[in-house]
Symmetry: C2
Subunit: 296 residues, 2 copies
Amino acid sequence: MIAAGVDIGGSYIKAGLVVVRTGRILQRSTTPFPGGKGPEAVFDVVEEQVRHLLGEQGMTASDLRSIGIAVPGSLDADRSRVVHAYNLDFHDVAVRESVEQRFPGVPVVALNDADAATLAEHRYGVLKGTRTSVLLTLGTGVGGGLILGGKLFAGGMGRGVELGHMTLRYDGRHHDCGNRGCVEMYCNADALKAGAPGRPVEEVIEGIRAGDPDMEPALERYTDALAGALTSIVNLLDPEVIALGGGVSHAGMPLVEALSVKVQKRSFSHAAPRIELAALGNDAGLVGAAIAHNNL
Amino acid sequence: MIAAGVDIGGSYIKAGLVVVRTGRILQRSTTPFPGGKGPEAVFDVVEEQVRHLLGEQGMTASDLRSIGIAVPGSLDADRSRVVHAYNLDFHDVAVRESVEQRFPGVPVVALNDADAATLAEHRYGVLKGTRTSVLLTLGTGVGGGLILGGKLFAGGMGRGVELGHMTLRYDGRHHDCGNRGCVEMYCNADALKAGAPGRPVEEVIEGIRAGDPDMEPALERYTDALAGALTSIVNLLDPEVIALGGGVSHAGMPLVEALSVKVQKRSFSHAAPRIELAALGNDAGLVGAAIAHNNL
């Protein structure tokens, strides 16, 4: 069975046809995000992309099991509307209905992009087979998703989870989200710069990956903060696996090893969960969107 | 149906016969904890108490649906052994087997005391009917339990949850638990003293409850920290209700109101969950232990 997945980001819209059984992407395309033209212009591009991909495969919309749309923002409790997706300038947008009208008869689901990535890692990647696990995405922002009871957890009140806005310093600086000293402030990609002044972030990440001793202070400082965040999650949920995705995760095994040591030391049971690099990389959102139907 | 619940604490052992349908305690007793004599001396007291209560009611052990034992410590994954309960000086103690031998034919369950209190609040108290909720106990230590999917959550790996050891200041002082700047350091009863120097804790709690303006700084300071902790829980789990128990919760509605305002401001959705005072007070552990059989 084939499903379409679309990952709408503030720079690009990525679309793909995905083999549901294996997670393999049959065909894909990437188009610039049409900024400033409103949601319908965005959905025009989405429709065009999906129809183009179907055409390339000699398929029609009726061959699709479902279409999934991942957005970088919050959705309402039944996931029919985007409440806010600031990077897209989407506010109270009826995403599901808009896409359904363009593909009559095909089930459409919308979901948060970090939730989509979590679903994909749970179905095909490093969270496979787990009942309690976490994906943390470390990029410009910090987000992620939770698997509880073997399923994606949407928050107890359906308002989603915001791993990047847990508290890391209760009396720290105020953040736009309303919290003070939240995880995102100390664990986003920019936070790597504090330990390597004057270096671009990409260079710091590559340096850590390559074991460059000049990057040791940046790694130490960053993992001190991130280990604090992971310890909160471990002491609250005792997960089987924590997966790390996003740009910072390209720092690879040196990042994983430093975190594992610190989380084991700091967590109450001193038995840290497995910490793993996410397996699906930048495709996780697209693949997760494609399989979201019947998995939410 | 009647079940026996026993709450073993470092100062007292409390036992009671509980009507399972209503949570009412038919008959109860409290005995000093026999310190320094080893686990079997403790189980001797437990047996004596339960048999005494049964005798008072004209009942025998065969009338009991089950016996539940709550301990202030960690248990192994199948809850047959206490791994560590420092206040009892219990380390790797086969609690279930020891009590079963004293009451042949009666099912025995053991569990953490905060988990027991959470079960009781979920069955009879302020967490009743919730699928996602939290009990936080604020006393000499800080602990608590989680309800996820409408059931007590034992941790993804069965090692329990430690709400008091989430991170509130990632670079804060080191704590015995291994973490730095953990919730317990800023939110236990003693932390109230920082805003009211020279006053005994009980006086600070009573002053807050009574609305004494001299206690305003203590309340402000304490709730700044605790709101940071609750915001972590809200942004991670989006619970329906957070219940507050333990000695500090006797500060009552002024505590609840200050927290509600701060958590609403700090949480990502700005829609704070209901924050409530726990309903069962000091009996929660005993009652929860009594009903733990078939509820874990």
